[in-house]
């Protein structure tokens, strides 16, 4: 069995007494798209920097495809390309020239430039100065640079940061297509749940430096209790009736959210509850099954005191 793209063991890092990353043991399966989630300041970037050998762990270890980053940084670095929060482009040079500097440092052939510019659909803009690029174009150029030499792991730190809604939508589409285009494992950090939900196969949630949830996204969603959203003319009676039938209920101005047991059939439960409400003389305006979402996983983690 091949080694996972990333495996850390009790990875920790502190800065002047402040614990930024605390005993993180994460596994990123090869060829997955791993969404690395957490609030700003949760420790995502510090973790990624340790994976790239930019920061030394206070304790613990990290390995990329089985190569220990601390013991053999150069061998580990050959397996990864990264888009970091700060792009580090030289504004006085064109996009193509910027990529060419990294290409030369990596000892790659010139044809590699065209290949990566094609993947990010930036070939037409390669001759423009980076200073004239939009933020979205810089992000794409950064991803192109990370792909130079076709590393088997791409680390993308907040690739949608600072983008406008159109830019975020473009980046989402681009990230979705990236695994097929490159065949690489993708580790993408973000604090935008919706973006990760639409692109990731696996997720890890970091909170205050600790990894509180990790796993395959579909499997994690399956463990979530389904929920029904109910809008009716008499929410107070509807609330009481739902509680009497064993649901845990959250009441808001818009309506009721009734949480089922994890293995309940949401469609059957909705039909039964609807019938009960109508039989009790309550007019039901709508009753809908709320899909299991990454947000639910995130909220559950917060209920554990994580957020």
């Amino acid at each position: 069995m091949s080694a996972p793209a990333v495996r850390t063991h009790a990875l920790s890092r502190s800065f002047k007494g402040r614990q930024a990353v605390d005993g993180v043991s994460m596994t990123v399966p090869a060829r997955s798209v791993y969404g690395f989630l957490g609030r700003n300041g949760a420790g995502k970037t510090t973790t990624l920097k340790m994976l790239l050998g930019l920061l030394k762990p206070t304790s613990g270890s990290a390995a990329l495809f089985g190569v220990d980053v601390g013991k053999d940084r150069l061998a580990a670095a050959r397996k990864v390309g990264a888009l970091l929060e700060a792009h580090g482009f030289y504004g006085n040079l064109s996009g193509g020239e910027n990529l060419d500097l990294t290409r030369a440092l990596l000892g790659l052939k010139r044809a590699e430039l065209d290949r990566v510019l094609d993947v990010v659909e930036m070939r037409a803009h390669g001759d423009r100065r980076v200073a004239d690029y939009s933020l979205g174009m810089r992000q794409r150029l950064g991803i192109a640079r990370a792909m130079l030499g076709a590393p088997p792991l791409l680390v993308l730190d907040e690739p949608t940061n600072g983008l406008d809604p159109d830019g975020i939508a473009d980046m989402r589409q681009f990230l979705r297509a990236l695994p097929e285009r490159t065949g690489a494992t993708i580790l993408v950090s973000s604090h935008l749940l919706g973006e990760i939900e639409q692109t990731a196969t696996h997720v890890g949630i970091l909170s205050e430096g600790r990894l509180v949830v990790e796993g395959e996204l579909a499997a994690l969603k399956a463990t979530l209790a389904p929920e029904l959203f109910i809008d009716a003319d008499d929410l107070e009676r509807a609330d009481a009736l739902a509680r009497a039938r064993g649901f845990s209920v959250l009441r808001t101005a818009e309506g009721l959210t009734a949480r089922l047991a994890p293995r309940d059939d949401a469609r059957a439960a909705a039909a039964a509850l609807n019938r009960a409400l109508v039989e009790a003389g309550i007019a039901v305006f709508s009753i809908a099954h709320k899909a299991r979402s990454l947000e639910g996983i995130y909220r559950d983690a917060s209920k554990q005191g994580a957020f």
Binding site: L52, G53, L74, A77, A86
Partner: protein, 241 residues
């Protein structure tokens, strides 16, 4: 190493650092040109070239090194490109060594331009005002040799300024040190202890005191090489937060 060096030179393309490399020697040439036109009679050719070298060593070289190292370092600090560079699969010392060689090469280019542009300024001034046509033939080889010694003696100055510029992301520490160092080097020109001051070492190549020139060359050159090696080792090992 050659690839890293090649990359450092390419970064200078259309940069302020390259503009400075041309502008500083050009200022000496412009000054020489107008200084000649102010006169009314011929002066020895070598006097004009020596005057250009002196301005270079006294003031323009230490100030240019201060500005050049700040600009070259800011090319990385500004866009925060250290993380990208240091994450690449190549030994980190190479990045800093290449940058060091690049800075020394640019200072060498400025030295060549100082001589070349000053010579050109003298030639143009002589044609504009024939009365000031210099006497004698210029000993370009001797002046080039003096500039080469100045470059060697300035290695410690380059090491100190580059170290500061690369270590701190702010312009301020490097500029403050360079301006302060140049100021004390100028006001304390004749001080005996000046020979131990990095910013004054190049100007000691113009002195007739053999011991003083040799001391400055030895400390500036050998000390500079040692300091540059220490700088590269230090920067390659430290974390950039």
């Amino acid at each position: 190493m050659l690839a890293a060096l090649f990359v450092e030179f390419r970064k200078l393309n259309r940069s302020l650092a390259l503009l400075l490399a041309v502008a500083a020697p050009a200022l000496i040439a412009v000054f020489t040109f107008f200084n000649m036109l102010r006169g009314s009679e011929s002066q020895p050719y070598d006097m004009w070239l020596m005057s250009g070298n002196a301005i270079w060593a006294f003031f323009m070289l230490p100030m240019s090194v201060t500005a050049l190292t700040a600009l070259v370092a800011h090319m990385e600090h500004g866009p925060k490109s250290w993380d990208h560079l240091r994450a690449l699969p190549l030994p980190r010392w190479r990045i800093y060594a290449a940058k060091t060689v690049c800075v020394i090469a640019v200072v060498a280019l400025m030295s060549v331009l100082t001589l070349g542009m000053t010579w050109a300024a003298v030639e143009v001034a002589a044609r504009v005002k024939p009365a000031v046509t210099p006497s004698g033939a210029p000993d370009l080889a001797a002046h080039a040799w003096t500039l080469a010694k100045m470059l060697a003696a300035s290695l410690l100055l380059i090491a100190v300024q580059l170290w500061m510029a690369l270590r701190f992301s702010s312009f301020v520490p490097g500029l403050a040190l360079g301006i302060g160092g140049t100021f004390f080097a100028v006001v304390a020109t004749s001080a005996r202890a000046g020979v131990f001051m990095p910013w004054q070492m190049p100007v000691n190549m113009l002195t007739n005191e053999v011991g003083r020139a040799e001391t400055a060359l030895a400390i500036g050159g050998a000390g500079g090489l040692l300091a540059l090696a220490l700088m590269i080792a230090h920067l390659a090992r430290r974390e950039v937060l």
